[in-house]
Subunit: 126 residues, 2 copies
Amino acid sequence: MDIKLIKYDENGLVPVIAQDYKDGTVLMLAYMNRESLQKTLDTKEMVYWSRSRNQLWHKGEASGHVQKVLEVRLDCDADAVLLKVEQVGGIACHTGRESCFFRKLEDGRWVGTDPVLKDPKLIYDE
Amino acid sequence: MDIKLIKYDENGLVPVIAQDYKDGTVLMLAYMNRESLQKTLDTKEMVYWSRSRNQLWHKGEASGHVQKVLEVRLDCDADAVLLKVEQVGGIACHTGRESCFFRKLEDGRWVGTDPVLKDPKLIYDE
């Protein structure tokens, strides 16, 4: 399959951007290895490689907030992938926010600007 | 300054997403080190760290297609940065396209879908 074109780094990983298909919000940046990308393409749901847990990470397996893959793009250097997704529940971040990029630099300080849509305790208890 | 919060990788780099401020198009993914991020914040134009040339890379220095910084965001893990920019000339990619993510996966193949807006020869000869 042509996805072999992708250049993985020295750890066998490629950075992946998940972007909301509807409004273009950048939801998160994470990593995939060959296996997780293949699973993502096969299941049409985002399966990352967790660098902290060193294992496949089916996004939403605990929270229910899976990301359904609608489009896959590769950049000119073939070392970054952009996936447009439908974010189930409208929440990508484990803090209960829409996007993981919820902190904005204002006068040299990071300010959490985006609202918490759901208490993480409720997300992970259900 | 609070931007110290950022976690750089073992090479002192952090992945950076440049997103068009107006329409949300993801233009490119590249890397910054501490110095290039500081220059970016000081000059309000994107200054990446070129991993291939191992030097600071003021985006647009050759093409004129600089990226003016309008917003800086950090993710929940503090290991990825999202910058919303005004893309001067409407072209981020060295191939003359709006975005570097111009290849789309279709039936297992990468297909260049986005149009070349300007011949790269003309971009770099001017």
